[in-house]
């Protein structure tokens, strides 16, 4: 039975406990934000501040396996404001683009359904990186390999939940059986809808189902998720067919030009003789 996480973004407070817990458990180095002196500039300059609300990393990366996104929505007359938060990570897709692309079997799915990069197998070819339809998996210059969230592979295989879910003080991140989490999500959507909110679950159909899925109260794009993610390998058959047809066409062109000319030259030869 696959394990996963349900992220109820409506009760996230943007505290980033999950980001910190993830870094600590997985031993990922931090890129501290600070003010520092820059030669030739009289005032202190900000390093590692995105300038985008309270967002401190901007995206997922080889050392940021969790990323809390802050969305500030302000209406035109600037009277109403809404602040949306969403804690993002690898979705552990059922049809995972990264896993499909890997030529070394470094990326594997475990018995609990999570997708893990084996660090001692990865060769750093970087093919998985553009193959993830969510821009999750990243290349680490430090290790020369691809890295991403493992769904706390070591913890969940020892009966614990993920570090981020454990740290989350509001219960916005829940770890468990995907089937149970889906029931919880459906109940929560029904509850919100009865109050007139336009709530939706993101991750039931995408990539054959995401083991880490979300409850959104606005379109996925608002939360930085693709509206219609396509597992890129689904284009493979068509691409191969078109390429083979072209190869046949080139073969035919070669055949015709080499054959035809052959007759042509032999005729010329006859004229000369």
């Amino acid at each position: 039975m696959p394990k996963g996480m349900f992220i109820d973004t409506t009760i996230c407070t943007g505290c980033k406990s999950c980001q910190v817990a993830c870094k600590q458990w997985n031993g990922l180095s931090a890129e501290p934000a600070h003010f520092g002196r820059k030669p030739g500039v009289s005032y202190p300059v900000a390093h590692n501040f995105t300038g985008d609300s309270y967002d401190n990393t901007g995206s997922l990366s080889a050392t940021d396996w969790r990323h809390v996104r802050f969305v500030e929505q302000i209406d035109e007359p600037r009277t109403q404001k809404r602040w949306l938060f969403s804690s993002d990570s690898c979705k552990h897709c059922t049809d995972a683009g990264c896993l499909n692309a890997c030529p070394t079997k470094a990326i594997q799915r475990t018995d609990l359904g999570n997708v893990v990069v084996q660090q001692d197998t990865c060769i750093g070819c970087k093919f998985c990186i553009p193959s993830c339809p969510y821009g999750v998996i990243s290349f680490s210059e430090e290790t020369g390999t691809a890295r991403k969230c493992t769904l706390c592979n070591d913890r969940i295989h020892n009966g614990l939940g993920t570090a981020c879910a454990k740290a989350c003080p509001t219960g916005s991140i829940r770890f468990g059986e995907v089937a149970d989490l889906r029931k919880r999500a459906d109940a929560r959507v029904a509850q919100l809808k009865s109050k007139g909110e336009k709530a939706q679950v993101y991750g039931y159909d995408e990539a054959d189902g995401l083991n880490v899925f979300y409850l959104f109260v606005d379109g996925p794009k608002v939360y930085g998720q693709p509206e219609h993610p396509i597992v890129p390998q689904r284009r493979l058959v068509l691409c191969s067919l078109v390429t083979i047809l072209t190869a046949l066409g080139i073969g035919a062109a070669a055949l015709v030009s080499f054959r035809e000319r052959l007759n042509g030259t032999s005729e010329e030869g006859r004229h000369e003789s």
């Binding site: 996104r69 197998t121 750093g124 070819c125 553009p130 691409c239 032999s266």
Partner: protein, 300 residues
Amino acid sequence: MSPEIIQAPEWAWYYIAIYFFVAGTSAGAYFIGTMEELFGSGREREVSRAACYIAFPLLTLVPIPLIADLGRPERFWHLFVYNQAGYPYLNLQSPMSVGSWVLLVFSVCALLSFLDNLVADKIISFPLFSRYYNRIPRKLYAVIGSLAGFFIAGYTGVLLNVTARPFWAATSPLMGALFIVSGASTGAAAISLFLIWRKRNSGGEVERLEAFDRVVMVAELVLLAALLVMAGRTAAPLVSLPFIVMFWMGTVVFGIVVPLWFKIRSRAERFGANPVLAHYLFILLGGLLLRISLLQAGQL
């Protein structure tokens, strides 16, 4: 905040685009040589000889950039053997995996043809095997090698198409087709240059090669146009500065249109040796710039 953030692999163009180009040219040349061998008159063998002398030496360059671009170059053998269990590994869904294996097959065939020609030209000899010389199945491995060569020329394009990067995804499924056609054209140019160097660039064979190349280059223009239409707004990088020079001038104008015009004109009139030499160089350079442009446009 960009809503859709599909990361670029940051493949170094000076490794990967050059690999695409060298492998494509080698494969194109090998295929042309085989076709000439199988269907040509049989009296002249200059084109197929040149092809064999080009294909394998070019391939020997290929592992260097491929391995150098890896994050862990010392582990390159994991492409063939699953290191955790020690068995050979092939992932049919991954063009990178299939491509690595086919590259091996192609290299073996190209090496055999190369040695074969060295023996035929009496540059080397294997006294032990000379008795069997006439029984070597050279047509068999020429055909296998050509099929593998087609794969090598085309899979690099398919590999780009089956990613989620907007430009590479939008140009699906044409990139593989374009790379095959470009490989055939640069392969033909490489053979012609070789023949000029050996002072053998005349006769019916060379004319047949030219006729083939004219068709191929027209097809290349058509495919390129279709690809740009499909790319639409994702092709925006191609109209920014380095690409205007590299892609539009280098590939389209001087790499395809001008050489094609030259080829069509040169059927009627005769040009001197230098412009002929130059137009082949332009075709090769255009092919290289094509790979660099399409690789980098997808990574910006």
